[in-house]
């Protein structure tokens, strides 16, 4: 059996299998702690994109105010370059004019990236479900990780949504 494996014509294949098996063993040994470490790093420094899409941005701003202070939970205030961001909070209504821009912004962000749909409008269209210019939710545009309901959500609700996202990241497969 072994002799057959290591014979001349099957040797490259066998080495590959062996390396593969070794890799599996290695990942089983190192993977879990590595996963934890990588996720820990991603967890506590979420940078949101500064893309205001509608009126929920008022409550997003209030969440960074001294009373709510979302920075305590590792969500950094939305300033800086798009290329350094890994979180996009869709703040409310997405109109037909904004939807392509939203997708462009999402495509330019580096992986891994997460999406929070904030407010009833981003989830289902909300109060504007029958308006001619509003998308019924952003599910058709972006893959959403966490839905934060409310019209608009209170800053506490947004913070809870961010913490749910962190719980999700903890359980994600990083390596």
């Amino acid at each position: 059996m072994l002799k057959e494996l290591f014979s001349q014509d099957t040797a490259p294949h066998a080495t590959n299998v062996l390396i593969g098996k070794l890799g599996e063993v290695l990942i089983r040994a190192v993977g879990k702690p590595l996963n934890l470490a990588v996720n820990w790093g991603r967890l506590w420094s979420l940078w949101p994109v500064h893309l205001e899409t509608a009126c929920c941005s008022v409550e997003f701003g209030a969440a960074s105010s001294p009373r709510y202070d979302v920075e305590r939970f590792g969500i950094i205030e939305a300033f800086g370059s798009l290329r350094q961001c890994d979180l996009i909070v869709v703040m409310g209504t997405i109109t037909r004019k904004m939807a392509p821009r939203l997708r462009m912004v999402y495509d330019q962000m580096p992986d891994p990236k997460y999406v929070i749909a904030m407010g009833a409008c981003a989830i289902t269209g909300g109060l504007y479900f029958d308006s001619y210019n509003v998308l019924p939710g952003i599910d058709g545009v972006l893959p959403v990780d966490v839905y934060v309901p409310g019209c608009p959500p209170r800053p506490e609700t947004l913070i809870q949504g961010c913490m749910l996202l962190q719980e999700k990241i903890k359980r994600m497969k990083a390596v």
């Binding site: 899409t53 008022v58 004019k97 504007y128």
Partner: protein
């Protein structure tokens, strides 16, 4: 030009010297809108604003909801100034349906409106501070704003979207001990406002960035049809609360703030000085308010407007805000037109930014007291 470029690629000619920049909708210096700016080196040659990213068809939606159902979605364009955007709607519907408003309700409305004006102005001031890189000026107004939000939450039950003003008065009476609480917080807030003067308005960096930039002359302000703080910063004494007093504003003691300079500094200072006047109005209204009585006239279910049209306007945080409602004997309005202050102030951006430095763009743009969601409706 030594080597020919491959087909399909064009470089700008050097003698044109013009570069086009897109500012927004994803940009820390813009709101929910785009400015197409052409620059020559550091100087802006032309600016073309491109609003409409939050156009949600409010006016069309108002045509298939009845007069009471229209309230929640009509306050969404400015959720942090929701009483003031509903105020003209309530006045117009009351005129259309012939509703008499109780005396106490008129005072409660004025208090709600002035509290909301402070909330709006503080949010604007916080954003103005952070866009100029002054993060203390974000933290202070954003923190003080919560005091007034608490007051309005006690009044109406909601944090920002109150739907407190309804045709026929206000939705519910004031809670117990509201007068003392309101007076205490307004007195505290006046003390805090004086501290803003030292940290923000006397700050040499702010003065260097805003004084003398984006000057709008008195004649231009009138010619372009600007309104609100932009108009008053250019030396025109126009305030709807004084010139066409609605509800009980004629009984109350306050003054309009007018500045002559017409630059970004004056435009950023007028709303700040108006907050003192708002505090004065609130204190005066609390004193003159009837201590008991009804606050809401009961309406018939599904009331019908006559064959009529009305136009009423009030002074909002951003200037004159008017509703034009046409009715044709049906429970739903036939046509609702909302004339908002933000959109009328947007028109002067191309005039103000021409010849400015690119770095002054956020200072000029945010001094216009502009809220894009309201402008797009």
């Amino acid at each position: 030009m030594t080597t020919p470029l491959p087909p399909g690629i064009e470089l700008e000619k050097i003698d044109e010297r013009i570069m086009t920049l897109n500012v927004g909708p994803q940009h820390p210096g813009s709101g929910h809108m785009r400015l197409i700016i052409k620059v020559d080196g550091d100087y802006i040659v032309s600016c073309d604003p491109d609003p409409g990213y939050v156009h949600r068809g409010e006016e069309k939606m108002a045509e298939y909801r009845n007069y009471i159902q229209n309230i929640p979605h009509l306050e969404r364009p400015v959720i942090h100034d929701s009483s003031n955007i509903l105020y003209p709607y309530c006045l117009a519907v009351e005129e259309l349906l012939d509703i008499e408003v109780p005396e106490r309700a008129k005072y409660v409305r004025v208090i709600a409106s002035e509290l909301n004006r402070c909330i709006y102005t503080l949010y604007w001031l916080a954003i103005y501070g952070i866009f100029l890189g002054h993060s203390t000026m974000f933290m202070w107004p954003a923190g003080d704003r919560e005091l007034f939000i608490d007051l309005l939450e006690a009044m109406s039950g909601a944090r920002v979207t109150h739907a407190f003003l309804v045709p026929g008065g206000v939705r519910n009476d004031l809670p117990a001990n509201f007068e003392e609480r309101c007076l205490r917080q307004v007195n505290y807030f006046e003390k805090r406002l004086k501290e803003y003067e030292a940290i923000f308005y006397q700050n040499p960096l702010l003065i260097a960035r805003t004084a003398g930039t984006g000057i709008l002359s008195r004649t231009d302000a009138i010619r372009l049809g600007t309104t609100g703080s932009v108009l008053r910063a250019s030396g025109v004494d126009f305030d709807v609360r004084k010139k066409e007093p609605y509800d009980v504003y004629e009984n109350l003691d306050f003054e309009t703030v007018v500045m002559k300079e017409g630059d970004s500094y004056a435009r950023s200072r007028v709303p700040y000085l108006e907050m003192f006047e708002s505090c004065r109005i609130i204190k005066d209204a609390l004193q003159k308010m009837p201590k008991s009585g009804s606050v809401r006239t009961k309406l018939k279910p599904n009331p019908k407007g006559g064959n009529d049209e009305v136009y009423r306007r009030v002074e909002s945080g951003r200037g004159a805000l008017g509703y034009y409602i046409v009715s044709n004997n049906r429970p739903e309005p036939y046509r609702v037109k909302i004339s908002v202050g933000s959109f009328r102030n947007l028109i002067c951006i191309p005039y103000l930014l021409k010849g400015e430095k690119l770095g002054n763009m956020p200072a000029v743009y945010w001094s216009l007291n502009y809220w894009p969601v309201e402008a797009d409706r």
